[in-house]
């Protein structure tokens, strides 16, 4: 049962992502990407990581993509035809990076990979937060500082300069 569900969700995720890349219209691409994120969240749920599943939906589908959509609607891009098609110069680095990731993934799979955590191994919220804030506390602080810098930077750029 779980295996069938997984393959179904995985197919939806992959097809959604591919369509998001090939779709010309930015709003349609966003809709495809959101459905892909949603089925990815369901896969996390199947892997007994409900917390990650919820974060996936709240942050990616619910906040980042909504912001993208906001910008696209405000600027009304997407009616400008094919002028935005990426050329080989934009494609090549992305393809190279994707190739590296795929190769690494293939090596990991060839090594036998990791066993999927069973439903019994569901990490509780308490375990998760203890690991995050006890063991990786410094990393969390550094990341939050970085986010703070980004916010201050955005504020600086967004400020109207002079009259």
């Amino acid at each position: 049962m779980e295996a069938y569900l997984f393959y179904l969700l995985a197919a939806v995720t992959v097809i959604g992502t591919v369509l998001a890349i090939t779709e010309k219209h930015p709003v349609h691409a966003i809709v495809y990407l959101v459905s892909s994120f949603f089925s990815l969240a369901a896969i996390f749920f199947l892997l007994a990581a409900p917390l990650i599943a919820m974060f996936e939906v709240i942050i990616y589908a619910g906040a980042v993509m909504v912001l993208f959509m906001f910008v696209i609607m405000m600027l009304d891009v997407g009616r400008s035809g094919d002028g935005l098609r990426p050329g080989l110069r934009q494609w090549l680095p992305a393809m190279l990076l994707a190739g590296v990731i795929l190769a690494l993934l293939g090596m990991m799979l060839a090594h036998g990979g990791w066993p999927a955590p069973g439903a019994g191994a569901a990490a509780t919220l308490r375990d998760f937060s203890l690991t995050l804030f006890r063991q990786h506390g410094v990393a969390i602080e550094i990341i939050s500082l970085q986010l703070l810098f980004a916010v201050v930077g955005a504020l600086y750029f967004g400020k109207r300069r002079g009259p």
Binding site: V27, A61, G62, V66, M73, T124, L125
Partner: protein, 330 residues
């Protein structure tokens, strides 16, 4: 995994019951809104269909279903058709995590009066309410109309801003209950409701859910004085009906969640748990109708300033104070 057929049957029965109750309640909430607004404005309200006009929702439904279903020229076909469903489905899904009564004993089984008791229930609610934005945004955008687009851009900005204060106002609740599970949150309020400890968080949550439902002091996305009907200007028939029903389902769901988080859920004096919970939900619905009959609409910049400069900092401060209080109390 082995499933007991009786368990499955009970689960399906619960889902069917929830569906039936919330859809009927949403239809009658429309009727109640028209009646109460009529009283507030010294009119009679709908009173022609059936005794006291009680069959009005049915007449409205038949009217909506038999109307022509048209699509404006240049509209984005699939998104235009899908958007009303995107608005209504998250509102319905929220009911899956709301506990509406004390556990029952039936046929030797303990039946939780809650469809799914997830241990990330509260987060599921936040996730679903953040997905509800898409119905508003895509509906207005796909209509290929200026009023609808303006309405949906306003809706996007408003829902995004008030989601933040809504989420932050729930953090103290989680800190007090020490769990994201809604049944634990209700159980933690057996003695004392959280509204006693957290009146500020309750007020922030209440204001934010009024903005999330797009109810009157915050109904900028559909401001009829400026934008015809905002994001659903171009919709007709049952597609408009779905937007409308979604809005009322949202009122019921958010009222139920406010009762769960701050008013003790199904805990209450004298009355049986389910009745207690229903009374609280209906009280919230009445409050929203009352506010609609009383307050004027905010201006758009006032709305944004209020959300970002008052509600969000207050909610953050409240989290800090609650955390210190919990630490010092030990």
């Amino acid at each position: 995994m082995i499933y007991d057929p009786l368990d499955i049957a009970l689960m399906l029965a619960k889902i069917a019951l929830v569906f039936f109750v919330i859809l009927t309640l949403a239809a009658y909430l429309v009727f109640a809104e028209r009646k109460v607004l009529a009283w507030i404005q010294d009119r009679k309200g709908p009173n022609r269909v059936g005794p006291f006009g009680l069959l009005q929702p049915l007449a409205d439904l038949i009217k909506l279903l038999t109307k022509e279903d048209f699509r404006p020229i240049g509209a984005d076909k699939w998104l235009f058709y899908l958007a009303p469903a995107m608005a209504a489905i998250p509102a319905i899904m929220i009911f899956a995590v709301i506990p509406f009564g004390a556990p029952l004993r039936l046929f030797g089984h303990t039946v939780q009066l809650q469809v799914a008791d997830l241990h990330v229930g509260l987060l599921l609610f936040v996730a679903l309410s953040s997905l509800a934005v898409y119905g508003v945004a895509l509906g207005g955008w796909a209509s290929n109309s200026k009023y609808a687009l303006l309405g949906s851009i306003r809706g996007l900005a408003q829902l995004l801003s008030y989601e933040l204060s809504m989420g932050l106002s729930l953090v103290p609740v989680v800190m007090l209950a020490r769990s994201f599970r809604l049944s634990d949150i209700v159980a933690a309020q057996a003695g004392c409701w959280f509204i006693v400890y957290q009146p500020l968080a309750f007020m922030i949550f209440l204001i934010s859910i009024a903005a999330e439902c797009k109810r009157i002091p915050f109904d900028l996305p559909e401001a009829e004085g400026e934008l015809v009907a905002g994001f659903h200007t171009e919709y007709s028939g049952m597609r408009f009906g779905l937007f409308f029903v979604g809005e009322y389902l949202n009122i019921i769901a958010l009222g139920g969640l406010a009762a769960t988080f701050f008013l003790g859920g199904w805990h209450g004096p004298l009355l049986p748990p389910v009745v207690c919970f229903s009374v609280k939900v209906l009280a919230f619905a009445f409050l929203f109708i009352w506010i609609r009959g009383t307050l004027p609409r905010l201006r758009y910049d006032q709305l944004m300033h209020f959300g970002w400069k008052i509600l969000t900092p207050l909610a953050l401060l409240n989290i800090l104070v609650t955390a210190w209080w919990l630490v010092l109390r030990g």
